[in-house]
Structure formats: structure tokens, C-alpha cells
Symmetry: C2
Subunit: 348 residues, 2 copies
């Protein structure tokens, strides 16, 4: 209610009243919709949203009302990535005199209504979202209020309609596998991520291309799908290492999966890298703390977050009424540490 | 300026004018001080702060102005603890309909003026600070505006004047060492944290007490001070393992230091736990991902953060003008995993 009153004060009753009249609802209903409250029937909300969307309302309101906040919304704060992404957004926010509001959307799939309500009430300068699929309704709610948003999408499955930042997964898979080929490995296993994530498939394709360019066969027995977590890495590595003709090297698809591979090797008294080479993916901080330190593909998570926050700032300053659709894809690079070595065993 | 104008509107000119008159400054100067702006000379600011502090101003202003935000301020977002603490505060914030604003104070020692300025402008429900030493000026600024604050203090060096949450470091050191004694170890090394941190000393004293209770001598040669990071663990473990009569077990003082011990052992072809038992401290997520998974002392970081945020909520609802000084110390507990085993070697 307080927020609704401030609308009136700051924007003048006329604009709000015009929206109400055009939508055929009361001023207080328009105010409720603007503030993202849920006690408005869906058809009414849709009608008001459409009028807001079509009206000049949003252009006149932005600068006067926004708070020096950047919203950062995660599905879950569990990932080893989260802190790197937070630090990237925090850096750009600080440089722009803004603070970061952190929200966990709390649902495993698409974010629920709670977080968007908070965002609409706070009126931040912009929103950085760490997940791929954004419901159409959420996009419209943000757009009608001129709140720019950018998706950080490490899964590599961007919505063409939404500005997003990702990284080069195919190239990462290629670089990891090439490195192992150059060390003389011929039987190279891969544990990529879940089969339904595009980034898993891109890394796998990079692996296959590196083998093909080296004239090596791609043995389907050596390809496994994990879960990007330690447990998946351990289980799939156990399967690979127990093959009749086991691999001499494993590209583990993520650093957590690589830790699982190290554990599977330890339980079989295989020394890494002497008996088995292991390459991770991500280069999160624990990659260098691991024993041995992981050779891995560096995914520039902090820079991806900085890029997303900077894209927000650019979107804000755009004069255009339509958001500028942008896709930023940052390069990945191989970091060679202690978990890979020359191959000492060839075939059976 | 906008914020200053809102002061006038919401509180009425009279209250602000009274403060100005009593301090002998202009209303706009009072407004600047209230908003934490730095373009006010220090003596003037101190004078206004004192009047604010003594006046009934704060009691009349709190409820009307606060935003549904909890501020969480870190020195640096680098620690492996940070995410656990964020998640704890986030949980309590969500349950109270509030969002978390995350700020990195950006200085290694005491926090600088930038963050307090932002806090005073945003007027959150409260502030959770992750560091021990809070300047007197900051305390006064928060108190005069009735913004409650609680310190999460894993270093174990609480300011008696400030509500804080810590954990039982001495008991943690005792439990870690007792576990090794029970496994038959007689030469037990310790790598505690920096010598100037109370939590390092408390853990070391717990270690000494456990040895003493078991009738074992405390060999000063087996006591080392680290840095709580991987590098310190690696370096100090190398010193211990290269002794003429090396330890059969090391209490590593932190999980990161324990990872360093694992690496020092690997480089000497010592198998953990077969040839060397290792106990960490903290139980951050990577402790269970390590190979072997770390036996460690669980420091309930998430619950400490929840406790701090709940304490904030309690402080808010207090009628008392003076903040309630509180110290919450949560229990630590030993988590036995794969990095410890029965001692197989006894002395020379």
C-alpha cells in the first residue's frame, strides 16, 4: 500500500488513472499489479499488464523510481559456482554505486512467483538470473516496468528472446581432449553431464571432434553421462576403470566429477597422474586445492557474471523501447596442473 | 537528496528541525548525517550523532522507514565459508519476508565508510557482519538509527559490546585430538591457524588438553601455526613429515589446511589414512568431496548465520532502547569419514 501511494505521489495520479481507465479497473488494482501483488485475478492482471506494456508508462517512470540495487536470482545457492558469480556481479554493482540483493528462487525448475514480487516492489536497476528458462509472464512483468534483465546460462541453452551470457562448451571439450591426445593417450574416457543439458552435449561433441582430428576411434563404451556432482563422477569412473580395456585418461566433464574420479582411482590403488590422467571442467577454486591439483578447463564464471551485470547497465542506458537482445559467449581455456601426465600404457 | 526529502515528509519537519536546532546546524546537515553522507565535517557529524543518540528520534522513526532487507556484510567474499553463511541468512530472511543485500566491505581489516553509507541509505531491518572488529563510530551510527546488528565471529574474539554468534573452538580441538588418541596415535601433530587469532589458540588448547587427559606429552616440535589456507597446510605438513620422528596423525586446524596435508603426504608417497591420519576443521562442503573424504570438526556455519539473523529479528522486536547484548556459541561436533584410521606405527 505504501508503495502504491508512492506511485501516485511520484508519477501523478493522471498517468496511473489513465492506465486504470484503459484497462477498465480501479487505480488501486493497477497499483497492485505494478507492485507484483498476487491478490489480483489472473485475467485482470493480464489485462493491466497489456495496457502497461503498450502505454508510455514505463518510459516515464524508470529513472524516478529505481533503487540502486542489482538483483541476483539463483534457483539454489548450492552450486560451487554460486560464489564466483556473486563476486562478479558484486564487482560491477560496486563500480556503479549499487548493491546486490540476493534471492534464491527456491524451486528446482522455473522460479516461482515469490521472487518476482520482491523484485517488482524493490524496483532495482536490473536483474541477473542464473537459470535458462524464464516464464513468459515474468519476462513481460519485468519489461512492462522497464527493469532490464540478463540470464547467466552456463547450461548453454539460451532463450533467443533474452539477453544472456554463456561460455564456449564445445571448445572446452575439444581443448581438454586434445591435451590428453598430445600426452599420448589413446583410450580416453569421458564423463559428460546429464544427457538433457546442451552443455553436456557440446562438451561431448568437442571430445569426439578432438579424437576424430587425431584419427582415433570414438569407442561408445568410453562415453558416460554423469550428474555434474562428485557421486556421478565416482560411479561412472568406477564403470570405466572396471572395463576389460580401461581408459588411461578420463575427461571428467566438471571439477566435482573429477574429484569423484580421483576417489574411484584411489579405491583401486591407481595413482593420478602416474596410472590415470584426469581433466576437470569449470576451474572452480577447489580444482587447485585438490590433491593432485586438477588440470581443468577454465570457465570464466566471474567474468561471465561481470559481463552479465555490465550488459544490464548497457540495457538501462539504451534509449530504445525494446530490449536489445544480446548473447555473450566467453572463451574457455585449458589450465594444466598436476592431474595429467604422459601415457605409460598402450592397449592390451 | 531524495532520501533527505523523504525524511522531511515522513517524519515531519518538526522532529528533524529540533535535532538541527539542538545540534546548532542546518536541517540539511542533519539529513546528510542521517543518510551517512561523507560531505559533512567530522566534528559536525559527531555533534549531530550525539544529539540523535540522545533524542527520541530513533524510536519514532524506525517502523515507518525500514525496508524489508537484511544486510550481510563481508570483508571479502573469498572464504569457503561465505556461501554457507549466505544460505543461513537467506533462509531466515525469506521466512521473515525480507531479502538479503550482500556487501563486500573491500578492506582487509576493519570495514571502510562505503558500506555503512549504503546501509544507512537503505535502512534495512538489520545488519549481519562477518568480522570481529567493528569501529566505535559504526556502532554508534547504527544504534542512533535503531538498525540492529549482529556479528558472526568465527574467529572467536567477540566484542563484549556487540551481539555475536560463534562456535565452540576449544571443544572442537579437544574432540579432534581425542579421536586420534582413541585410534592409538601417540605422535599427533597440529597445524592450527594464525598465532594472533583467538580461535587458533582455543583449538590448540583443546588439543593440548586431550593429550594431557590421555597422559601423552605435548611435544612443542609437533605444534605449527598455519594460515587457514591450503598453502599453509602443505608447508607446515612438509615440516612435520620431514621430522626425524614424524607424527602418525595431523590435526590440520581447517579443511583447507587438511587438503594441504593430503598434498604433502601424496608428494612423499604416504597413503592417507594407511600411513597418516588427517583431521580437518569446519566441515565445509569440500571436506566430503576430498579424496579420501575428510574426518573433520563440523562448525555449524549455516546455523550460526541463521542464529545471527534470528537474533537480529529478536533485537528488532525489543522495546528496550539499549540493544540487548547477546553471545550465542554453537556446539561443534566430530564427523568421522575416510581420512583417519588406527595407528600402525609406534615411535622409534
Amino acid at each position: 500500500m505504501l508503495q502504491g501511494m508512492r506511485d501516485d505521489e511520484e508519477l501523478g495520479r493522471i498517468t496511473l488513472a489513465q492506465v486504470a481507465q484503459e484497462a477498465g479497473v480501479s487505480i488501486s488494482t493497477v497499483s497492485k499489479v505494478l507492485n507484483g501483488r498476487r491478490d489480483v485475478a489472473a485475467p485482470t492482471r493480464i489485462k493491466v499488464e497489456r495496457v502497461l506494456d503498450e502505454s508510455a508508462y514505463r518510459r516515464t517512470t524508470r529513472v524516478a523510481r529505481e533503487a540502486p540495487l542489482i538483483e541476483l536470482v539463483f534457483h539454489e545457492l548450492e552450486s560451487v559456482w554460486a560464489l564466483e558469480l556473486i563476486r562478479g556481479v558484486e564487482k560491477v554493482a560496486k563500480a556503479n554505486g549499487a548493491s546486490v540483493v540476493l534471492t534464491e528462487s527456491g524451486t528446482r525448475q522455473a522460479p516461482g512467483p515469490e521472487w518476482i514480487e520482491g523484485v517488482l516492489q524493490r524496483r532495482p536497476r536490473g536483474v541477473v538470473l542464473v537459470f535458462s528458462s524464464l516464464p513468459a509472464e515474468v519476462k513481460q512483468q519485468l519489461r512492462s516496468r522497464s527493469i532490464p534483465f540478463v540470464v547467466i546460462d552456463p547450461a548453454g541453452d539460451p532463450d533467443p528472446d533474452v539477453p544472456s551470457v554463456g561460455s564456449a562448451n564445445w571448445n572446452g571439450g575439444l581443448a581438454a581432449t586434445r591435451h590428453l591426445v598430445q600426452l599420448g593417450h589413446r583410450r580416453i574416457g569421458i564423463i559428460t553431464g546429464p544427457e538433457d543439458m546442451l552443455c553436456s552435449l557440446a562438451r561431448l561433441d568437442g571430445y569426439r571432434s578432438a579424437l576424430s582430428m587425431a584419427g582415433l576411434p570414438a569407442d561408445p563404451e568410453l562415453v558416460r553421462y554423469g550428474d555434474f556432482h562428485v557421486e556421478g563422477g565416482r560411479g561412472r569412473a568406477a564403470e570405466l576403470l572396471d572395463l576389460d580395456d580401461p581408459p588411461t585418461a578420463i575427461f571428467a566433464g566438471s571439477d566435482l566429477q573429477a574429484l569423484g574420479v580421483l576417489e574411484a582411482a584411489r579405491l583401486r590403488e591407481l595413482r593420478v597422474p602416474h596410472d590415470l590422467s584426469v581433466v576437470g571442467y569449470d576451474d572452480v577454486p577447489l580444482a587447485q586445492w585438490s590433491s593432485p591439483a586438477l588440470t581443468t578447463v577454465h570457465q570464466p564464471l566471474r567474468q561471465m557474471a561481470e559481463g552479465a551485470a555490465q550488459m544490464l547497465m548497457r540495457l538501462r542506458s539504451e534509449e530504445s523501447e525494446e530490449p536489445v537482445v544480446t548473447r555473450l559467449e566467453l572463451a574457455t581455456s585449458l589450465v594444466v596442473r598436476q592431474s595429467t601426465a604422459e601415457c605409460r600404457r598402450h592397449g592390451r
